[in-house]
Every structure is written in C-alpha cells, then in structure tokens.
C-alpha cells in the first residue's frame, strides 16, 4: 500500500478506463476521487456502480460531466441525466439484478468462472445468456466482472491498508476491493496499525494499493 494525493491517484486512471465505484445511492462513495475525475476530465469511462446516484452526488457527478460511455448498474431511476444519456444513446447501459451484480463482481474477485443464479430466469435478463440445469432446476450463467480500478470508500484505514466500514456505507465496497487490478481508497479516518482489531478488519491490507492521504 502507498499513500498518494488524490491528484496522483486519479492521474493513474486513463480516459476510457473501467472503473468500479463503491456506494449505494452515493452512500459509501469516495466523493474526493469522483470530484478529481471530473476536474481531470477523464472521459469515456466504463462505470460499474450499483446505481447512478442523483445529479451532483456520488457518481452522479460523472454523468453531470458526461464522462461515462458505458454503465453497468442495477438501477438508474433516480438520476434523470443518466436516463437521458441512456435514452439518447450517449451511454450504453447494462442493467443487472442487484444480487447478480454483486455476485458477478465477487466472482471476478474470487477467481470463479461466473455465477449460477435463479434470478432472471424467464425474464428479459435471460436473453442471450446460457441457462444451465442443475438437479433439474434452471440457472442463468452470469459472467464474472472485473475492472481496472476500484474506487473504494472506507470508514477506517490503517497505515498498512486494512479497512473497516461504517453502517450502510459498507455495501459494495469490500466486494469491489477484491475485483480490480488497482484499488484506491478514500477513508474517513486514517489510523495507526492496531487500532482496527483483527476481527473487525473487513478488507485485509494486501488488497489495497493506494490510500488517499489526508490534507
């Protein structure tokens, strides 16, 4: 793990990169990294995020600045700008059931070949996908998802990179922290090693590549 400035961190992300962003309706989202993506005008992003948040908040800022060209999400109904950009074909959107979304990311992070889920069988979601029978029951084969970058929000990070999360800001963050080539973390508090009890670490230090330094 390396501590870097938010400018340095975002400079590593090229335009066109695939980027996972933690958070659920902008709760548990690393806002400082999103502000800096906008400031550095990183365009053509493939965004993987549960939702499109709302304009001005969380990943909503990326849609405000029209930085997204491809979106994988479960729900975008509360961001009219994202909806307009989808209906205007400015962004291509892959809508995925939420349980499938998180499980595909988990598969990407855990070295599994995909997910066998009952969710979506017999619906539009099944179109173009393989259906696998196991013990006579049908499951969709949903492929694993990984990204070049995961942008993670944590409550506590220690000097080694161990992370703990708070309340419903945990959501997709620990799963995404396993599924990207480079993991960049914004923590509400950076604390000495040992402050987070081993039983309370949720994301072990070796998974984290960069933590945004204070100040």
């Amino acid at each position: 793990m390396k501590a870097v400035s938010v400018e340095e961190a975002v400079a590593m992300i090229p335009s066109g990169a695939s980027v996972m962003v933690g958070g659920f309706m902008a709760v548990g989202t690393p806002e400082r990294l999103l502000d800096e993506l906008v400031r550095q005008n990183k365009t053509g992003l493939s965004l993987i995020c549960n939702d499109a948040a709302t304009p001005g908040k969380g990943v909503g800022k990326l849609f405000d600045a029209t930085l997204v060209s491809k979106l994988t999400a479960t729900h975008i109904g509360l961001n009219p700008k994202a909806q307009q950009q989808m209906l205007g074909n400015q962004i291509s959107v892959d809508l995925v059931p939420q349980g499938t979304f998180v499980e595909r990311i988990r598969a990407g992070g855990c070295g599994l070949g995909g997910v066998l889920t009952p969710t979506g069988v017999g619906t539009l979601v099944a179109e173009g996908k393989r259906q696998i029978e196991v013990d006579g029951k049908p499951f969709l084969l949903e492929t694993a998802i990984r990204a070049q970058f995961a942008l993670i929000h944590a409550f506590l990070a220690d000097y080694l990179g161990n992370l703990a999360y708070a309340l419903t800001a945990r959501n997709f963050n620990p799963i995404m922290a396993m599924a990207a080539d480079t993991v960049i973390v914004v923590a509400e508090h950076i604390v000495p090693v040992g402050v987070i009890a081993p039983d309370h670490v949720v994301t072990p230090a070796p998974l984290v590549d960069y933590i945004i330094a204070n100040g």
């Binding site: 549960n50 939420q98 998180v102 889920t117 969710t119 069988v121 619906t123 539009l124 309340l167 799963i175």
Partner: protein, 216 residues
Amino acid sequence: MDPQIIIARRVAKELRQGNLVNLGIGIPTLVANYVPSDLKVFFQSENGLIGTGPIPEQGMAHPLLTDAGGRPISALPGASIFDSAMSFGLIRGGHVDITVLGGLQVDAHGLLANWMIPGKMVPGMGGAMDLVSGAKRVIVAMQHAAKGKSKIVSKCTLPLTSARPVNLVVTDMAVIGFPDGKATLLETAPGISIGEVLAVTEAELAIPDTVPEMKI
C-alpha cells in the same frame, strides 16, 4: 381510510413473530407503521442492514446510515450490518421470510411485472428480481387499478420480474391468492362487494364460497 393505508394495514397482518421482512419503496414502506408493538419482526434494508428503525429525530441522522433509497434511517438495538453480497445471499438464499413489493401488473397465474415500461420507464430492476425469486413469501402491495385500468391482468404485457409467481396480492379492494396457480379472491376490502372487485379486475378470479371482509 386512505387506500394506501388499507393496503399497508392488511399486509402488516401477514407478518409473524421473528420474520425477516424486506419492504420495497412506496406503499410497502408504510407496512412498518402498522406492526403491532408486541410482534418482533426484523426489517432488512437491502443496502446492508437488518434492524431498520424509524426515521431518526432531527439532528440524529448519520449520512452513512440510510435506506435503499438513500434516505436517513435509524437502527434498532440488535441491528446488524453486512455487505451487498451477504445482503443478497440472505435474499436469494430464502432467508427472507416475506418481501413486500409494489407492482405494475400481476397476472392470473401470479406472475409479477414491476420494473420496466418499455420505451417509457427503464429505471432498472434494482433488487426486485432477486427478492421475487428468493424470498420465502412474496406479497405485492399495490392499488387495484391505475387510471381506471386493472393491474390484475390475464397475462402481463409488461416484462416480468421473475418466473416465480407471487404468493399474495393486497390491494385497496381485495386480497388475492393463487391456490393451484389460479388467481382467487380471498378477501374484499371494507365496504367493497365481490361484484365491485370483479368489475375492475381484468383477470379471471376464482370466487370461493365464502369471501370474508379484510380485517384491518
């Protein structure tokens, strides 16, 4: 009584001691207001919480404690927090006893459409498909008709949420179940006759010998 409150009060009667319950946005959210105080149920918020409590008092909200709509909520003593993989493991794995969702259409076989109106409303399915596929009991809480059109239809014209039929539909006019896979009128709302229900229901409804009035 407000139609939404009729629905919420009736759905609340389906909850049992110790149930793990997931309430969708809209009418389903209201159900929490009508749970008897001596009935202990767990409410799950699919963004990662079991033990959701009421909206916190002013000044007590925390920005990192919200419901699935991003609104501040509180957590009751004994609440637990988990990541989204666990949250949907609970849902898909059948650990949620009851999910209550809104609906656009429910058909004569109990199939639900509630996530998309092609060309018009494409918000995404969020957690709805997993909830309908995975919860032990699926209850749809919705108005019986919208703009004079029945939401209980012969066959869904909107895209389905799941191939798995729902267990119960509670509307402002009726309670409908699906014994043997066939829409059946189980109860009528206070002051509503069977004839009135049938008049605004597109789907064919089986009518048992006795159809009691909803107790709310």
